[in-house]
């Protein structure tokens, strides 16, 4: 009999199978449901250009409806039935927590790459040995925003709208660390946002005379707040968190362009509307050819960026990739991976901190967020007590045609 090499689970001579759980249906689906297709689009682009060491990548997509129970069941499916090599880009804090511990990713040595949540705890390698968060934590984001507010809006009355769960409490922790105190804080229960609650929030902000308002919530909450302020003739300097700041989604939520113009936001990726950026241009190109030209928004951008990182990780894992090898490669070489973000990835043998930096910009009248002064200035910090630093934005140049060659 012919010699048959031993491959890791999910890897064959010609393919590498990856999996993702994400809400495709249900109330959390809008926006996120575009992620898998965009990832697959990028993978297909790579596959058409030779794949990863000759292997084609396939992505098994499971709908978790944003429920931890389903996320666990579906990840079990991915691991036990579909036998994927690794999970990539899974969404949500509670979901990823439940999956990590119930599916026992750590003990089984199953990598969960570039999970899509800003909960700072996932960076703890001891607790989540195989989980690799990508986004800067919410604490980091809030600290950076806080620093920005202190630098630019000293003496103004400040307001904060935040989601009343750990997404919001991370934000509060960050603002506290940055030494920012809000004159008025409006918490809201996740999923309860409606036109009426928007009016109530704006009422409170108005009553407190807030001049600068930070919205640290999901898109629908941000949309509700902005729409209500338009309807109630309330004017403030809005600063939108990255989670709820996608202009395309806000527009779909009925936010008038007028109110978005001049609002500020934070992002770790360039603006999806910034066609001068080489990554954006390349991704838009792929999106047109491989994703039937889906509207190119932040979700598509994050998805493609994640996919690009994934390809680099797989390449870095060598010609006969193993799960352990993949993780070792991430921890040793992750920092050098090319990605659209201006902030480097900090994975190391001791930490799973991913991106750490944000730039702050302003939405123009067509809803594109552009950096202050036309130049990306990156603020970086950590999830602890570290200071906020300003660094000149620098990132690895995009590999030719957006095809990793590491």
């Amino acid at each position: 009999q012919a010699f048959s090499p031993h491959y890791e689970v999910g890897v064959s001579a010609s393919t590498i199978k990856l999996g993702i759980t994400i809400p495709l249906t249900g109330s959390a689906a809008p926006g996120y449901n575009k992620v898998p297709a965009a990832m697959s689009a990028y993978f297909n682009y790579v596959n058409d250009n030779g794949g990863v060491n000759g292997r084609k990548i396939s992505l098994v997509v499971k709908d978790d409806a944003y429920l931890p129970t389903l996320a666990v069941a579906k990840t079990n499916d991915l691991v036990l039935k579909d036998k994927v090599f690794a999970v990539v880009g899974a969404l949500g804090t509670a979901n990823n927590k439940a999956v990590a511990s119930s599916v026992n990713l750590g003990r089984r040595g199953i990598p969960s790459l570039f999970i899509n949540t800003g909960y700072s705890g996932f960076a703890d390698k001891a607790k989540y040995p195989t989980t690799y968060p990508l986004l800067p934590s919410y604490i980091v984001e809030a600290k950076i925003m806080g620093q920005y507010i202190k630098d630019n809006y000293a003496g103004k009355k400040l307001g904060l709208i935040y989601q009343d769960d750990d997404f919001g409490s991370d934000a509060q922790a960050g603002f506290k660390a940055a030494g920012v105190k809000f004159d008025v804080s409006v918490p809201y229960a996740s999923g309860s946002q409606s036109a009426a609650s928007g009016a109530a929030w704006v009422g409170k902000l108005k009553a407190a005379g807030a001049e600068v308002v930070v919205v640290f919530g999901v898109s629908s909450a941000t949309g509700v707040a902005l729409a209500a302020s338009a309807a109630l003739s309330y004017k403030a300097q809005w600063i939108l968190g990255s989670v709820g700041g996608d202009a395309t989604t806000l527009k779909a939520l009925g936010v008038p362009a007028a109110i978005l113009t001049g609002a500020q936001g934070a992002s770790f990726l360039p603006s999806p509307g910034d066609a001068t950026d080489e990554y954006i241009k390349q991704f838009q190109d792929i999106n047109t050819k491989y994703n039937a030209g889906a509207v190119f928004d932040n979700n598509v951008l994050i998805a493609m960026n994640t996919a690009m990182l994934t390809v680099q990780a797989l390449r870095a894992a060598g010609s006969n990739p193993t799960r352990a090898g993949l993780m070792a490669a991430l921890e040793s070489k992750g920092g050098s991976f090319a990605s659209a973000s201006f902030s480097p990835i900090l994975y190391s043998s001791s930490s799973h901190v991913g991106y750490t930096g944000y730039w702050i910009g302003k939405y123009n009248s067509s809803g594109v967020m552009l950096p202050d002064g036309g130049k990306y200035t990156l603020y970086t910090t950590d999830s602890g007590a570290g200071a906020v630093n300003t660094v000149a934005s620098k990132r690895p140049a995009m590999p030719a045609k957006g095809l990793p060659n590491n």
């Binding site: 495709l24 249906t25 689906a29 449901n33 898998p36 297709a37 709908d63 409806a65 944003y66 429920l67 931890p68 129970t69 666990v72 069941a73 079990n76 499916d77 036990l80 039935k81 804090t93 509670a94 927590k97 439940a98 511990s101 119930s102 026992n104 003990r107 909960y119 705890g121 009343d164 769960d165 750990d166 997404f167 409490s169 229960a189 996740s190 999923g191 309860s192």
Partner: protein, 324 residues
Amino acid sequence: MHKSRSIRLLVFIVIALAAFFLSNVVDELRVFQGASLSVYIVAIASIVLLTGYSGQISLGHGALMAIGGYSAVLAHNHWKVSIPISFAIAIVSTAFFGSILGWAAARLKGPYLAGTTLALAVGLPSLANQFSVLGGEQGLAFDVGAPPKSLGSDFTQYKWYFWICALAALIIVWITQNILTSRYGRQWRAMRSAPISASLSGIHIGRSKVLAFTISSGIAGLAGAMLVMTLNLVTPSAFPLSLSFAIVTGAVLAGVTNLGGGVIGALVLVAIPDIADLLAGKMGGAEKISANLPGFITSLILIVTVLLLPNGPKLSKLVSHKTK
């Protein structure tokens, strides 16, 4: 009567042995599904008792499961009690809450009760965000630990969950079956079908209803504790409205009045997503189609099943006659 009771006990023991044997031969995915199955069986039993027997409708048992889940986790994490004790605490505290709720519910009829419990299902889990001790949206970890070494090194975590869940389910279903076939079950059925006659026979309707609500809540609490054990985590989003709906659906698929059918209802609940995924996978199609096809198929199966077998599977009738 006497004989049938001991036979029932025997049957349960045989089922237990069979289940444990089975857990050693099937793959791990099935073992995990077995644990989910046990959770559903217990949850459905609580609805069968409440709706099928005492005639009260609840669309909010997911909320009661949440109470059970949180109680078990808090007890386990703070007092370091063992799993059985934390489960018992889940049962007791949920039953306590249920008795208060039941007191209010006893005054309400059909759709009013449905509406109230529905509001509970929507309102209660999100309360967890209000108290930091409950861990907010990301919840609290619930780690029951690795299986005892004595079970061997290849005894997986899921098998451990399955054994705990299956044992808990068997015990509680046995107890529930005893209650349902006892005079309590009889009184509830009487009260459901002809309340005036029942009260003229000496049954205190209000108290009877509250009792049913209390017991049902306790059972739901256990289901909640089991659920969060398999998740390793308790979080509000583990108890969505769809969970409440799912267990009611399971009960209806079981014919509502019958525990034996509950097993079938639970099986359907566990199997439907798989079947739907399978069918959807076969059909393929554009992305928006493939994303929605499983949901479509699931709903379709549900509707067709209820239309074809509105009183549950015939098979379950056989079972119930035999156990009587």
